[in-house]
Symmetry: C2
Subunit: 428 residues, 2 copies
């Protein structure tokens, strides 16, 4: 590796990262921080939505069963020598974990010592698939149980019900764990096919924050990663119309009070990473102005006793863009009506410039606080997978104008984009 | 201020703090950290348990209504000029808050900028009591509402019910917010009496972590704190027998599943801070060995489906020492029986040295991780109020032996020290 290929980037608030593209195709980021805790995340741009894909040069798309990315994550902890991955990490005092989302599978650990040894373990186990008919079969029961657990969980049900109401076809509606039916179709061959497609290193990232330096990380990567063909993946996502598929969806669970989750669907997603980053920044400010913890809406529903535990959030990424509002209430339709009238009032009165300035400053402060977190490598991974440079996000935030925030407000909120998912107590 | 009075203390893992006793009597700690976020906490050693006290030289104890420390905290946000304290902080981008516990009242903020200005506001508003018959009366309704909210909250009820089962007389059983009856007796005079007793600066601490230096902090303290008499407070806590007062207590709430909270009462609390710190370290390791997330008990109740969301914890401080186990279960008595038999098995087999070594290392790693937290000043405050030096806790942890852990196991767990608080679904 030629050291000239290592890019150093700094910010005016005293942060620094090193980046290089390894010869294997892997994107490596090292963010040195004087923390006691080091944190590493080895991730593939592969999640529940990637169920239809082909390689450059192939004629036909592969359609694979829902839940296979998550199944694969489970199976990566299986080792040919039978040694338990977690106990390998425990030997060097690391806390290890893994997760699968709609767009990503990540393997991670944190540790206060032995970063090098733990990094070796991380790269080693994730680069060694070991799927046999027996161990794949064994996992089916375990994952089946996990699926049933989620089915019994009102928090999970309300979320997937909303996605299925917002989207008619797009894979964002796919449950990360799949279904009992879909996982029944998973075989070692399919797992290997997905593994060598999506775990080719040019589709992966390694982010390390803490007491790490690029030389050490590169030394480990050079030694541990096997030779592997780099591949160009073409993903097929199903088209969606701008309007929601269904306006309402509800289910009954053993809960004390009804729960609601309102979603706003937005299909205006730019292909360009920098453009998406800008919209993400604007959206963050807008949602906080309208529905943050000190917004008139949040204070009003709280003080009137209409809603308990109100929270709002948003997601604006490569594949989906949604605004969320959730809480507990005795009367979900009253919350929905209030949501409509509140937006109407704001439309008439216009947004407040003073609120905008205050929230924009607070957003920048929140952005800065990311750099105090020992999970910085995780924040980095999320942004990098979305083609954003984490060091540019602050400047983008600073440059957001009141006018573009007002413009987004006008575009985002229209009744045909809203759906509400409700969980009712059984028999009430 | 003579700079020679500033003590600098360092650790072998690269941390540093500065300490001085200000002429006002205030203990000041500054912990410089290269974080974006600075954090300050101004606290008094005064909480719900301090309802019976006198000053050195006084003959009789003052008995004051339950909930007065918390009432006082609320009233500190009242300013003579009518300006809202939170908006003063908001002007300088700080997040401010306050809380009252059994043994402490704390006023705090975090900020990414303008630390000096925010520190000025903090010291200013907490050192200016302003209680009038009108504003004290107005607060009664607000706090009454808060009390009713807690009464309606199963998580709060299960906790206070346990304390009332464990303790017959000791003030640890006092509800922080008091009762509707007790707060009815609170007057401006009583508030001023408590304020000038417990907010005399020799009973207070100021901890600042982040981009802070002692010179700046001392400059602010010198300018803002008013002259105030230093007082020696004598607290009267009621004696307790070692056994629990009641074995079982239960209540009905609108919950989907019964909740349990098992408590282990321990009245063996050393008057010496260093001794308490040592027992705290031993207790932490012991409880994690027996009931931590990877303990046989936790895995067993989880895998058998007996308990959802199992958690264990402990508290070992100046005034009380309790071990907690909590979770949701269909059968609280089955959990209790399992708890008994598990301890019996461990007593027979003895603790595992291997587990001890592993958990001790993990405890030390957790201790180190505190220094990565922007809320470091809060961790400091807790330990200082308990007469522990946070920098000595790591060495204490390292020196804990398997033998003393086994010894504490033998002393702590006996059935006469156990109580269980249960919340049942209504009508089930």
């Amino acid at each position: 590796m030629n050291p000239a290929n290592i890019i150093e980037k700094t910010t005016d608030f005293g942060e620094k990262y090193y980046y290089t593209k390894h010869k294997s195709g892997l994107d490596i980021y090292v963010i040195p921080k004087d923390f006691k805790t080091s944190f590493a995340m080895f991730s593939t741009k592969y999640g529940a939505i990637d169920n239809c894909f082909k390689l450059a040069g192939e004629e036909n798309f592969h359609e694979v069963p829902d839940g296979i990315a998550h199944y694969l994550e489970h199976k990566m902890f299986e080792n040919e020598d039978g040694v338990d991955t977690f106990s390998r990490f425990a030997k060097y005092g690391a806390n290890a974990n893994a997760f699968t989302s709609g767009t990503m599978t990540s393997y991670l650990f944190s540790c206060t010592d032995h970063l090098k040894e733990n990094l070796e373990i991380l790269l080693d186990y994730v680069s060694k698939p070991y799927f046999t008919p027996e161990n794949v079969e064994k996992e089916r029961g375990i994952i089946g149980q996990e699926i049933r657990m989620y089915e019994d969980n009102p928090g999970s049900a309300i979320y997937y019900n909303l996605l299925e109401a917002l989207y008619e076809k797009h894979q964002t509606r796919v449950n990360v764990a799949g279904t009992i039916e879909s996982i029944a179709k998973i075989t070692p061959e399919l797992l290997y096919d997905c593994y060598y497609t999506f775990y080719n290193f040019s589709n992966m990232t390694l982010c390390v924050s803490g007491r790490a330096d690029m030389d050490m990380v590169l030394d480990v990567v050079d030694r541990i990663l096997p030779e592997r063909e780099q591949k160009t993946i073409i993903r097929n996502y199903y088209d969606e119309k701008p309007e929601v598929y269904r306006k309402r969806v509800s289910a009954e669970f053993e809960v004390a009070k009804p729960m609601f989750l309102i979603g706003v669907k937005d299909i205006d997603i730019a292909p360009d990473g920098a453009e998406r980053m800008r919209k993400k920044a604007v959206m963050g400010i807008l949602i906080d102005m309208l529905f943050g913890s000190t917004s008139p809406f949040a204070l009003d529903v709280y003080e009137s006793g209409l809603v308990n535990g109100f929270e709002a959030g948003y997601d604006h990424g490569r594949s989906s863009s949604i605004v969320y509002l959730e809480g507990e209430t005795d009367d979900p339709e009253a919350v929905y009506t209030k949501f409509l009238s509140y937006l109407e009032e704001n439309r008439k009165a216009g947004l407040s410039r003073e609120d905008f300035d205050r929230i924009k400053r607070a957003s920048y402060a929140s952005y800065l606080k990311n750099f105090d977190s020992t999970r910085l490598a995780q924040t980095f991974t999320y942004m990098i997978h979305d083609d954003c440079d984490p060091f540019d996000y602050g400047d983008t935030l600073k440059s957001v104008t009141f006018e573009e925030t007002s413009e987004l407000f006008g575009k985002l909120f229209h009744e045909e984009y809203y759906a509400m998912s409700v969980i009712n107590p059984i028999g009430k």
